[in-house]
Amino acid sequence: MAVTIEKHATVGDAQRALGGDAVYLGGGTVLMREINAGFVQGRIIRSTDPVLKQIRQSGDGFEIGAGVTMSALANHAELAFLHPVVRAIGGPQIRNMATIGGNLFAEPPYGDLAAALLALGARLVMAGGQARPIEEFFRDRKRAGLITAIQLPRPRDNKSFAFHKVSRVKPKGVSVMSFSALLPRDAGRLRGVRIACIGLGPGPLRAFSAERALEGQVLDAASITRAAQLVTDGLEPPTDALASSWYRREVAGVHLTRLLERMI
């Protein structure tokens, strides 16, 4: 058996073609390596619909086409809050190819941007037009369907969203773990805290214990210490080629502290 490539002019046609075991090809950085190795067989769907490459500002946020590359995000002045995330992904070649939509499907140790989108409370626009919360998608991403765009609220100011990545090689190291934190404030107190990470579980997930430790608090040394102590509560960090579960538990609080201290 071999692969068959089907090109579709619109995302609607691509969505209709996806069914069965067909797989969607975005920027290629995840799927092409599987094709090269012969691990993926059967129908591969791709689309040249220009809507996938658009970045639009809408009201208080953005709608970013799923095929927008990391480089395009890094070069977009209004998306400065995402620049630390996308500039930490891959090398220049990978950033010119890898897409925001593809990152949602990337397996560990990839997915830094996916976790940042989770922290930001993104909504995913499906090929049918309906938008759904990103949490729903992560519950069953294997059968998600075709994502055409990502809707993002703009963080209120540059202290309310930040990103921290831990890698052994710089630049272009993969994540041992990374944290993204959204800390909206209301009269000095944190309201609607969202902290997401990769490297502490099977994929991008929220650190609910750390979120609860911060919710309603003032961001200061005491609340940060409490959040750092609790960050891996309820999580099961994996042991893999990059780090052991024990190591990840030991250092997760240190790195969350470094991130949060920058946001005071």
């Binding site: 220049p92 070649q93 630049p171």
Partner: protein, 157 residues
């Protein structure tokens, strides 16, 4: 297996080739077109040896679907030294920046992409620009020095 025709510009010349379903650009360039300058390293986007410029952007030919370059402008190392050595090639020689040489075509294309948009990069920008390219011989310092030589308009140390 279905063969699809694909046309593109390679180093300034119009080219046409047939591609098989699922074939990557690196394989099409090497076996279909006969341009052996991009190297086959890891085939998984880790090493950068297959770096080519597509519409001026460095990309990894092993992860690009060959049929997707229809109508695009490609540059490889084979096109660099047409009218005598390119200043980057000259500087790589002067600085002994190639030892086994396998990473060199990818390094040259990554460096060219940088200098095309930023003729006076800082050392950190050079390091960032070649961060997607592995070299197991030189320790990178001669490569960084060679690129900075060209950026500063002097090729000999």
């Amino acid at each position: 297996m279905a063969m699809k025709p694909v046309t593109f510009i390679l180093n300034g010349e119009a080219k046409a080739a047939f591609t098989e379903d699922g074939q990557n650009l690196l394989d099409m360039l090497r076996r279909g077109v006969g341009d052996l300058s991009p190297k086959y390293g890891c085939a998984q986007g880790s090493c950068g040896a297959c770096t080519v410029l597509i519409n001026g952007e460095p990309q990894l030919a092993c992860l690009v679907l060959a049929e997707s370059v229809e109508g695009k402008d490609l540059e490889t190392t084979a096109g660099l030294g047409r009218a005598g050595l390119h200043p980057l090639q000259e500087a790589f020689m002067q600085r002994f920046a190639a030892q086994c040489g396998y990473c060199t075509p990818g390094m040259l294309m990554a460096a060219k992409a940088l200098l095309d948009i930023n003729p006076r990069p800082t050392r950190d920008q050079v390091i960032e620009a070649i961060s997607g390219n592995l070299c197991r011989c030189t320790g990178y310092e001669p490569i960084i020095a060679a690129i900075l030589d060209v950026a500063e308009g002097r090729q000999a140390p």
